[in-house]
Amino acid sequence: MKPELIKEVTYVPYSGNMAAAEAMRQINPDVVAAYPITPQTELMQFFADFVANGLVDTEYIPVESEHSAMSACVGAAAAGSRAMTATAGPGLAYMWEILGVASGMRLPITMTVVNRALSAPINIHGDQSDMMGARDQGWIMLFSENAEEQYDNLIQAIKIAEDERTRLPVMVGMDGFVISHSIERVRLLPDKAVEEFVGEPKVMYSLLDVDNPVTHGAVAMTDSYMEFKRQQRDAMEKAYKVIREVGEAFEEAFGKKYEHIETYKIDDADYVLIVIGSAAGTAKFVIDKVRERGDKVGLIKIRTYRPFPYYDIMDAIEASNCKAVGVFDRAETFGAVGGPLFSDIAAAMHLRGKSYPMVDFIYGLGGRDTNVNHIEEAIDKVKRLAAGEEVPLTNYLNLNE
């Protein structure tokens, strides 16, 4: 039986990895299977300490690869247990086949992805190409701006995944190193409160329920495969509502609001930036700065990436004074216009029958620093676009050329 360590709300100096590990301790999953990879290694070391010191009841399986890690989670979740893991970059790529097995079998597995660049060239630093590459594998995707959001999102992910309407796996991303290895102030919730919030695992169609035998991972040929996929789309659409409800429940319990998107100074904004992850924080700082000289810039930070919050984004843009939009992509989509987020925003505008001028900024690949100056440079381009000047569709920030 796991001991109670944190009895009241506590503010601590934690890295993103420490925050994620602490959330996992409090969630106390039945099974964790993981394989170490930078920058996730530390997270699993912290969790392995909890296991070794008897602070969790978890069955911890140190497997031989990420493919095996997800396979073990699939088996554990199908048996009816609450299973968690964590990975990064190439580790997520190696998991790719089993990611689809987890979502296709409708298993509520939750996973931290410490966002890392993909090879080649080899790079251990933060960008979001790993999760963007796994985008269509049927997982709900949340992104965190900082360590505290990773902690809060991971706790919410359990409820989102296990809801009867969704039964889908959830991955929660935080930028590698910039968040995973940086110390910040993090609010920790009491053990009991987290335990109560996530509740007992809701077991559905357990393989171990011998009185009600079921089949998992069966063959489905031309006669039935498509129906399974149709159901997954339906579950993902329902997840949109579930994520919002869980966010509301979290706010009610712990006083902090989580929605599909977070807006910053958008109401009177002439120029709108759309950012995912840690750079959204830097953008907030820059927005305050440029507003002092009269540039009305606002921000939409995307927390839920799948299901994509088309309506929330367009509602926010339409409620502003938007003259042009700057989209920030920390991943490439070679051969398409802009990055993955750019395409999603273009689709959102089409669905709403609106067409705002927009440009894309590819930034931070392989951990390239994106600082105040680079975001100011992007704002300048968005302003020029709004003024009718010609600006390239795809731009790069802090690129040497």
Binding site: P13, E145, D175, V178, I183, G281, K284
Partner: protein
């Protein structure tokens, strides 16, 4: 908000010292960040690590460009890395050297900026018997920060960070090195 940049070599413990500083500030109820500039770390290679300290929440998630305070842990870096890069005239420099601030100013031709010097190497060799420079440099930095964080909170944090890992003797030697540097650091 105060932004700090540390210059050190791999193995000197600068990343740990910057974490302890952030941790102590947060324990006092304020906001801080410690963000190492991770590369392919090699013992002895020059590295940078950063701190931000503030009374209000910090949302910046990027490198420090214009540090208010620069800490030079290894004196051999004074001539090999651009320690003044991005600093303004009123920046504070905290340097490990056996020279006085005036001597350093003359030797390096530094104009403006407030210079603090401390012989952290000597303190480390005397107290810790090894060139572990991070804790003495932290002591000197805390003095230079002039009340931003209480040295006693830093002491508490060192005990929390190292308490289980170090012998009592070595832990006490670290605390002694912290306070010695805090007292011995010289300014102009």
């Amino acid at each position: 908000m105060i932004e700090i940049r540390w210059h050190a070599r791999g193995g000197q413990g600068a990343v740990t010292a910057s974490k302890i500083l952030a941790s102590a500030v947060i324990r006092e109820g304020k906001y801080a960040q410690s963000n190492p500039d991770y590369g392919a770390e090699r013992s002895g290679a020059p590295l940078r690590t950063y701190n931000r300290v503030s009374e209000t929440p910090i949302t910046l998630h990027c490198m420090v460009l214009n540090p208010d305070v620069v800490v030079v842990v290894d004196p051999t870096l004074l001539r090999t890395v651009p320690i003044l890069e991005g600093t303004k005239e009123d920046a504070v420099l905290v340097i490990n050297t056996n020279k006085s601030p005036a001597e350093i100013r003359e030797k390096l031709g530094i104009k403006g900026r407030k210079i603090y010097t401390v012989d952290a190497t000597k303190i480390a060799m005397e107290e810790l018997k090894r060139p572990l420079l991070n804790v003495p440099m932290l002591g000197a930095l805390v003095k230079a920060l002039n009340g931003v964080v209480d040295i006693r909170t830093v002491e508490e944090d060192i005990k929390k960070t190292f308490g289980k890992k170090l012998s009592e003797e070595l832990l006490n030697a670290n605390i002694k090195a912290l306070y010695r540097a805090y007292e011995e650091v010289m300014s102009e």
